[in-house]
């Protein structure tokens, strides 16, 4: 009976069929133009001279050095920000104190700073003309135009990723489970490990995933502090830039295709996580 009615009368919140087709059609066309076409173009350009040429460009020693530096940078920056995110979310979500929302704003700050400015600030602190320039020179330490600067700039631009994922998640979960554990005599570390960590592990993974994608792909901030020394301070995105500016298009797009694969894998894992664990999306805003 009710099915008959449903078939005859549209629900008040249903749009007419032509409107649906129009909206879905224009959305698909827009996304194909803006998102899919660039992705396809990268692979088309990479394989323009055949798979051999593309593989050769990726196997080039400078390209391999860039891949290695990108992996090293992410291997330091991502765990660093994960530990920071866990500390910050424990302090913020499990305790009450004055100025909490201001602290959250400060943690979010790197998202609203231009990547170029993010690089600039470290040049002003650690560069030759910077605050610590002379001291670093005297002690034979190099941060700018070297790997530590690249790692620092990467940590800065990916700073909020894990924290902003975990803070809303932990706030939503409340403190009652931890209070129960502590009142029964569990130590703080034990409570964290056996009660909190299992509750937030998928959210943590989600944050780490996004953090890693940005860490491996960061360009502006790293470009300012790197000095572009081939084989030494070139990350993959910087290597892409150098090859592109030298009109080595096959090489540039071959390395770019590797980064595209990273992006696609990130999106697939992220979608799989969202489907399996709908909570992880709970705290996500626009980033």
């Amino acid at each position: 009976m009710s099915r008959v009615i449903a078939a005859r009368h549209r629900r008040a919140t249903d749009d007419p069929r032509w409107a649906k087709v129009l909206v879905i059609g224009s959305v698909m066309a827009f996304l194909a133009l803006v998102l899919i076409l660039p992705l396809v173009a990268v692979f088309a350009e990479a394989f323009r001279k055949g798979i051999g040429a593309a593989l050769e460009a990726v196997g080039n020693p400078d390209a391999l050095a860039a891949v290695k530096l990108t992996l090293i940078t992410a291997a330091i920056a991502v765990p660093f920000n994960a530990v920071f995110g866990l500390c910050a979310s424990w302090a913020i979500a499990k305790h009450d104190f004055w100025g909490k929302s201001f602290l959250i704003t400060l943690i979010d700050l790197p998202f609203s700073v231009s990547p170029v400015v993010a690089g600039l600030i470290y040049v002003l602190v650690f560069g030759l003309q910077g605050w610590m320039g002379e001291w670093l020179l005297d002690n034979d330490l190099k941060i700018i135009f070297a790997v530590p600067g690249i790692v620092l700039a990467t940590i800065f631009v990916t700073f909020p990723f894990v924290a902003r994922e975990l803070i809303p998640l932990m706030q939503e979960q409340g403190t009652s489970e931890e209070e129960a554990a502590v009142s029964m005599g569990a130590s703080g570390l034990y409570t964290f490990w056996r009660v909190t960590a299992p509750n937030v592990r998928w959210g943590l993974l989600y944050g780490v995933l996004l953090c890693n994608a940005r860490a491996m792909g960061e360009f502006g901030a790293v470009s300012v502090v790197s000095g572009h020394i081939r084989g030494l301070t070139n990350t993959m995105p910087l290597h892409v830039e150098i090859l592109y500016n030298e009109y080595e298009f096959v090489g540039a797009f071959a390395v770019a295709a590797l980064l595209c694969l990273l992006a696609v894998v990130t999106l697939v894992l992220k979608t799989a996580l969202e489907v399996a664990q709908p909570d992880v999306r709970a705290g996500r805003g626009g980033h």
């Binding site: 595209c260 990273l262 992220k270």
Partner: protein, 287 residues
């Protein structure tokens, strides 16, 4: 008397800034959070302000408002504004299609919306430059029409459309999902047409989220570097964005000048951040 002191005592012992909690680890995690935040974000950011402040106010003003800098701000803010508007339109349509309609490939579309977050900006930059160059897949159709899409402000806008899209979609989506459909049903049952319902009931309710998404996309566009420089052409006074101007000053070892432009951009970013927070506080009053 004794009863009175006993009553007062716990209050006197309570720290001013924090309510006591049974959960341990506040001191440690808060200490780590504040230390890392200061060392990575706050102190380096203050370096740029102090560097800019080394100049006299007159010098600062003349650098901040030089012809070339003003041209760069106009391009950066103008392109970011137009791109955010375009995303404002297609972002709403995309969010609407994702929340209200079922269509084949919806999961893929949903994952794809986040591509600009996952794809390294330099990769997006060279892909867009290749597509929209006069010989590119899209550029070759625009060239006979007399439209040049790459290496000018149009190219900058195209890159910023790519970068900003997810901000609008992901800000509107949850609001649309939580919106009560019974309001729309009420409007329909009172005789409003579907069009009237959407324009007068649905869209006004989305306004705060739309503004937030617009502001986020705009703020991101203003600071964006990697995806823009390949397609911009980078001609002084014509297609040179503000972040690039910082890099150019830096390459000429004009640190104070670089810091000056950076301070102007930081001021804009923080203003945007305040506006976004204000919009969100304002929308919560109606929630």
């Amino acid at each position: 008397m004794t009863a009175e002191t006993a009553e007062r005592r716990p209050q006197a012992k309570r720290p001013l800034f924090r309510r006591r909690s049974a959960i341990p680890g506040f001191g440690l995690t808060m200490g780590v959070t504040l230390t890392v935040l200061s060392l990575i974000v706050l102190i380096p950011l203050s370096a740029v302000v102090l560097k800019a402040a080394q100049q006299s106010p007159a010098e600062f003003w003349s650098v901040a408002t030089s012809e070339r800098a003003l041209a760069a701000y106009r391009l950066t803010f103008g392109a970011a504004f137009i791109a955010a508007l375009v995303n404002g339109v297609f972002g709403v349509l995309t969010a609407w299609a994702l929340v209200r309609y079922d269509f084949p490939g919806k999961t893929v579309v949903n994952a794809l919306v986040d591509l600009p977050f996952a794809l390294p900006t330099a990769v997006a930059g060279i892909a867009l430059a290749t597509l929209y160059a006069p010989t590119g897949w899209i550029g070759q159709f625009l060239a006979p029409l007399g439209i040049q899409a790459a290496y000018n402000p149009v190219g900058v806008t195209i890159a910023l459309i790519f970068i900003g899209l997810p901000f609008v979609v992901r800000t509107i989506e949850p609001v649309l999902r939580d919106a009560a459909e019974d309001v729309e049903e009420a409007a329909a049952s009172l005789g409003a047409s579907r069009f009237d319902t959407i324009v007068r009931v649905v869209l006004p309710a989305l306004a705060p989220a739309w503004l937030t998404g617009f502001a986020l996309a705009f703020a991101r566009g203003v600071g964006e570097y990697g995806s823009v420089i390949f397609i911009a052409g980078n001609m002084p006074y014509k297609s040179e964005i503000a972040p690039l101007l910082i890099i150019i000053q830096l390459e000429q070892f004009e640190y104070a000048r670089a810091a000056t432009i950076a301070v102007v951009m930081l001021a804009v970013s923080f203003t945007m951040l305040l506006i976004i927070n204000a919009i969100q506080a304002w929308s919560r009053r109606f929630a």
